[in-house]
């Protein structure tokens, strides 16, 4: 019996990677679905889902399932499969197209400062926040998951570039420590 074998987006890229005060590892997100309500259906959608779609730059969590704000009128359901939402929203699977990594450690914020133009101070990007931004030249979703923990979601095809550029920033930050 022939079956197709799965490969994760960051397979073969040398993760987890630990350099200085930061660690980079692949995150298995599980199912990821884009949910975009049709005109005037946001209310009915919230009822069917059991929760309203998150406000911009916010994450709504329940158990292991998260709803991330993902753009105007859109959210990403991470870690779960949505119920039948026909007629209420465009529901599109997105998980295979995403590479997800976790960047953690005392140096994690300094590493990100080399990669994203975002204000990463606690006041601007607290735990539970998310943002759509650029990581060097790539569009990416950034999540703050802990005091010194972040998740980065990028496009699967650019996984190699993502891991390489974050790794380089980690080495540069660690390189300063010896001064």
């Amino acid at each position: 019996m022939v079956r197709l074998l799965e490969a994760s987006p960051a397979q073969g890229l040398g993760l987890p990677l630990s350099v200085g005060g930061a660690t980079l590892s692949e995150v298995v997100l599980g199912p990821v679905w884009s949910i975009a309500p049709f005109a005037g259906r946001a209310g009915a959608l919230a009822e069917k889902l059991g929760v309203a779609l998150p406000a911009p730059d916010r994450v709504v969590s329940a158990d292991d399932v998260r709803l991330l704000w993902a753009g105007p009128g859109r959210a990403l359901l991470v870690g779960g499969v949505p119920p039948d939402l026909s007629g209420l929203a465009a529901v599109v699977e997105q998980g295979d197209g995403i590479v997800a990594v976790a960047l953690e450690g005392l140096a994690a914020r300094d590493v990100l400062a080399r990669l994203v133009p975002l204000d990463l101070r606690d006041v601007a990007f607290p735990e539970g926040a998310t943002a759509r931004t650029l990581l060097n030249h790539m569009s990416a979703t950034l999540l703050r998951t802990g005091p010194q923990a972040y998740e980065v979601l990028g496009m699967r095809s650019m996984a190699g570039t993502l891991v390489r550029e974050i790794g380089e920033a980690m080495r540069h930050v660690a390189g300063r420590e010896e001064l």
Binding site: P72, P117, R132, T133
Partner: protein
């Protein structure tokens, strides 16, 4: 230059693509005639002063209208293109 995306907040200009002034908000009807269409596709005012421009915030996909002063570079307001007056 920094522009405030209504969803994402204050962001650096590098996250945006500038399409040009907001003429696109006033698209003529299909049969409005060649002069109206020539005007719409090719002719633009170039004021030294306030201008409404259409910008795209690439990371989140929002199209916005930015009111900007071309002389002082001050940004006077950002609204969603979807909700802009036509």
């Amino acid at each position: 230059m920094r522009v405030a995306c209504p969803f994402c907040g204050d962001r650096d200009r590098r996250e945006f693509t500038v399409q040009g002034d907001d003429t696109s908000l006033r698209r003529p009807g299909r049969d409005a005639g060649p002069l109206a269409w020539h005007d719409y596709v090719h002719l633009r005012d170039n004021p030294a002063g306030r201008l409404h421009e259409i910008w795209h915030h690439d990371p989140c996909g929002a199209w916005v209208v930015v009111e900007r002063d071309t002389v002082t570079h001050a940004v006077h307001g950002v609204t969603l293109a979807r909700e802009a007056a036509r």
